[in-house]
């Protein structure tokens, strides 16, 4: 990304969208993406998260990683509100293709159609994929 970020006090606020498209434990993408989101919160930007494809599995309720001895970072999505990150968008088609619905998710999200998601992405200053 070659976007110049103005992080001075009173600097420009840009719209950042982090796109999550990977399931949580098979690869490191989801966890790394979440860490970047938490760090981005320190810069007072307009941050949103999009969940598409296997990324919707990141938000499924009832994850328990005890036996696989990995960190269960699903609880961390519930901390995002405290970081003033409240725009979580989930693509309806991805949810439905996986037999999931809004009630299966562990945080409040806004469900968007594919077209609405496309519009939301186009309206960003910076889009970063994980």
């Amino acid at each position: 990304m070659s976007e110049e970020m103005d992080m001075d006090e009173g600097g420009t606020v840009k719209k950042f969208m982090f796109v999550n498209r990977k399931a949580p434990y098979g690869t490191i993408y989801a966890l790394e993406g979440l860490e970047v989101v938490l760090i981005s919160a320190a810069f007072d930007q307009d941050v949103s998260l999009a969940f598409l494809d296997d990324g919707v599995y990141e938000l499924v309720k009832g994850q328990n990683t005890k036996a696989v001895e990995m960190k269960n970072f699903s609880s961390t999505y519930r901390a995002l509100e405290g970081y003033d990150i409240e725009k979580l968008y989930v693509e309806r088609e991805s949810l439905e293709a996986r037999g999931l619905s809004e009630g299966d998710l562990l945080v409040d999200v806004q469900i968007l159609s594919a077209a609405e998601m496309g519009e939301m992405m186009a309206a960003q200053d910076v889009v970063i994929s994980f």
């Binding site: 498209r21 496309g118 992405m121 889009v127």
Partner: protein
């Protein structure tokens, strides 16, 4: 918005997800690079999806990557070929870019 696809459509679902999201909205374009260029060949299982999307969005492919893979003669009609300078122009022309992984 410019979408960049760099993976073969037979390796993962980035292309189909990108088309689903981008072709339904207005003002999107897509550029195929690296292994992504297999997505603009004729006669593949994704040809129809790409062709349908073309009705709504501009489709580009990076010619050096097509040549490297020996498939430059099998590109679908309507796909605009660009070189590296053209790649840079496309990025500069669009308000934002999304690189699909």
């Amino acid at each position: 918005m410019l979408h960049i696809i760099n993976k073969s459509p037979f390796e993962n679902n980035s292309l189909l997800s990108c088309l689903r999201v981008a072709s339904a909205a207005k003002g999107h374009a897509i550029l195929f690079i690296e292994d992504g260029v297999y997505g603009v060949m004729q006669g593949t299982a994704v040809e129809k999806s790409v062709r349908d999307a073309m009705a709504n969005m501009a489709v580009y492919a990076l010619n050096p990557d097509l040549e490297a893979r020996g498939v430059q003669g099998r590109v679908m009609d309507g796909v605009k070929l660009v070189d590296y300078d053209g790649f840079v122009d496309l990025v500069a022309e669009h308000d934002n870019v999304q690189s699909w992984l």
